[in-house]
């Protein structure tokens, strides 16, 4: 499955709720304000393990728009919108944590 999270970890619990129910093979794509959770910050440990497994992606345009390109945490992979489409195609059912 592909889980998309579009809110900052500092604003809502959607990332935490996603992490509570994600299975072992699913991936997370951070979009819109969700990319704030991709930056190195006091909450980075939440995603560190999944990122190390190559299962965390962030939408590049949203990262750049928010001026945090240089702060993206280790192992989080940036994708463009075509990459977003590829993730949807490759990972089956999409779950949006809106």
């Amino acid at each position: 499955m592909l889980h998309t999270v579009n809110k900052s970890v500092f604003e809502r619990n959607s990332l935490q709720s996603c992490l509570n129910t994600i299975d072992d093979s699913s991936v997370i794509l951070l979009i819109e304000d969700g990319v704030i959770s991709a930056a190195k910050n006091t909450k980075s440990s939440l995603l560190a393990d999944l990122a190390a497994e190559g299962r965390v992606f962030a939408l590049q345009g949203d990262v750049e728009a928010r001026g945090i390109s240089s702060k993206v945490a280790d192992n989080i992979k940036l994708v463009d919108y075509e990459g977003f489409v590829d993730l949807v195609v490759e990972h089956g059912t999409a779950v949006s944590w809106v």
Binding site: T21, T93, V98
Partner: protein, 134 residues
């Protein structure tokens, strides 16, 4: 038409925003399509099916009663996150007693609501073909 597994993911409380009401409207329509329908209530979504809602004081329609009709539409898989209930100081007793009649068991009345752990929710979600979030 083929049968797919549809999950309706409800994470927002009723009344403060329209998502809960309009999600329920989709679910009622979905019943006509004879798909495998389940509803998940996670986070503040659990408040959608709390017993004793009274909207007299806010001038809005109390749509919680509509959940009682779901059983008649063969929608009887309502999964509630145990962790979300616990975090909010709620338990099974605080939820509406939603039931359905099981046609495979001499129309016995059975509960539609199942309280599940995050691990069980994870497994249920992994089985879905379509997940509609509200």
């Amino acid at each position: 038409m083929s049968t797919k597994k549809f999950m309706y993911l409800n994470r927002k409380a009723p009344y403060g925003t329209v998502y809960a009401l309009e999600s329920l409207e989709v679910v009622l329509i979905a019943a006509a399509f004879e798909q495998d329908v389940s509803l998940a209530f996670i986070d503040d979504g659990v408040y959608q099916i709390v017993e004793g809602q009274n909207t007299d004081g806010i001038g809005m329609k109390n749509f919680s009663k509509t959940f009682h009709a779901l059983g008649d539409y063969d929608i009887n898989q309502l999964y509630v996150s145990a962790e979300s209930l616990e975090e909010r100081g709620l338990s099974a007793d605080d939820l509406m007693p939603l039931i359905y009649e099981d046609e495979d068991d001499d129309w016995a009345e059975k509960p539609s609501v199942k309280i599940v752990s995050n691990a069980e929710l994870s497994k249920l979600m992994s089985d879905q073909d379509v997940c509609l979030s509200f």
